[in-house]
Symmetry: C2
Subunit: 250 residues, 2 copies
């Protein structure tokens, strides 16, 4: 069943409305009719099952049938920080990491990042990322849309580190020496309300200086299994491992 | 450190040789010199650290320094079967699923597959897939190259099902009803020497008839967490979950 995000907090109304792009999608792409149902998800993470009661020239009107009770979101807030990579790899990550349950994607210029994007370019990219993430959230039946931050300096990442309860650094060298306990320990000791950040390097990896800095904020190095993963694959491993630990095992 | 696959079984030689594409890569791309080291991995899954002793016009000569002792492979054989998807999604899965440790990729024509490829086209694609998988295996430091099968009929998949000890079907409807136990149970009860197959549908999903058929071969439906994953994302979730259960938790 189709899902649309309404950019307002939920309030108990007689009537809900789809307009703009969502109206167009529902009426012209999905060809929905009176009596058809869909999910509506609101900005305060409330989601309902709604039924179409009217189709007008520029909007669709719906009534609430019931609340959506299933929990689609990860039990803890997971932020993914990725050193900027070449081409459209970060866009791939934005889409797949949304399907896999991240709360937030932070792109940052890492020391070994080949690409350098200025503020103007980052502003444009931000819009594109927001669109990708919204569509992926709808398709994967998320109950909230992940946030996007495309930082223009490494310092902007540093200043945010203290707000996280757990900071992990996915490190290739840890994988190579067979480090297997850090990720498990962090995933098993997190408690409700806590926020976890996991940092991934670009193709060239994270530098020892960057690691030292992250460690000064209680960052912990971890391996993601014995095989070396590409920069765009590693975040998907981490999120899948989190879902397996928190949503399937528990 | 670079890794090359030698398509022969390991035998204790004074001298090992890189020729052809691997010679070209080592000498012209990596610009390796006498004294440089790399991994050599053989078709019987033995891997060694080797050092260059001579660089000739068409080949590089190496001597063995020591065996590679680290275990890079999953403890159980994992085959991934994917209903054919549009565009190059399956190529993408081939690369990432190799990084993530699969033993084998089987593409098959599912009832809802939009794409239809004939034997000739599949033959060409097979070559391309083998190249993708070999490169991904080298880059991720695998100790074996996954196998590829691009089937031209659904029946060809059916005839193979009985060779697997565990057959799982990743099913969207299972995810929607909150099924969380099947995958965990299968991953925790597998024993050494067993082979697991996990089947993924194309964009249009797996049909009830296909499910019945798989179930007649002891196939078990499973959910991959509460969010709906795209056809190309789901195999990566499954493999990451397996690595987490078998390689990090155990």
């Amino acid at each position: 069943m189709q899902r649309y995000f309404i950019n307002e907090e939920y309030e108990d109304h007689q009537l809900f409305v789809l307009s703009g792009d969502d109206f167009h999608h529902a009426s012209h792409v999905m060809r929905m009719k009176i009596g058809d149902q869909c999910f509506l998800t609101f900005s305060n993470e409330v989601a309902i099952v709604a039924e179409i009661t009217g189709i007008l020239e520029n909007q669709i009107e719906l009534k609430e049938i019931q609340k959506e009770t299933a929990q689609k979101e990860m039990p803890y807030s997971v932020s993914i920080a990725c050193g900027y990579t070449k081409g459209d790899k970060l866009e791939w990550v934005a889409q797949k990491a949304t399907e896999l349950g991240m709360s937030e994607l932070i792109g940052f210029p890492s020391k070994t990042s080949v690409v350098k994007w200025d503020e103007k370019k980052l502003g444009k990219k931000n819009q594109r990322f927001e669109k990708i993430v919204k569509e992926a959230a709808e398709q994967s039946h998320r109950q909230k849309i992940p946030k996007i931050q495309l930082l223009s300096s490494f310092k902007q990442l540093e200043t945010q580190l203290k707000q996280y309860d757990h900071v992990l650094i996915a490190y290739e060298e840890s994988a190579k020496i067979g480090e297997t306990k850090s990720l498990v320990k962090s995933l098993q000791m997190i408690v409700p309300g806590e926020k976890i950040l996991i940092i991934f390097g670009p193709e060239g990896g994270i530098t020892p200086e960057e690691i030292s800095l992250f460690e000064s904020y209680q960052g912990v190095l971890c391996g993601l299994g014995p095989r070396i993963l590409r920069a765009e694959t590693a975040p998907l491993y981490a999120l899948s491992a989190m879902s397996y630990q928190w949503e399937l095992l528990n």
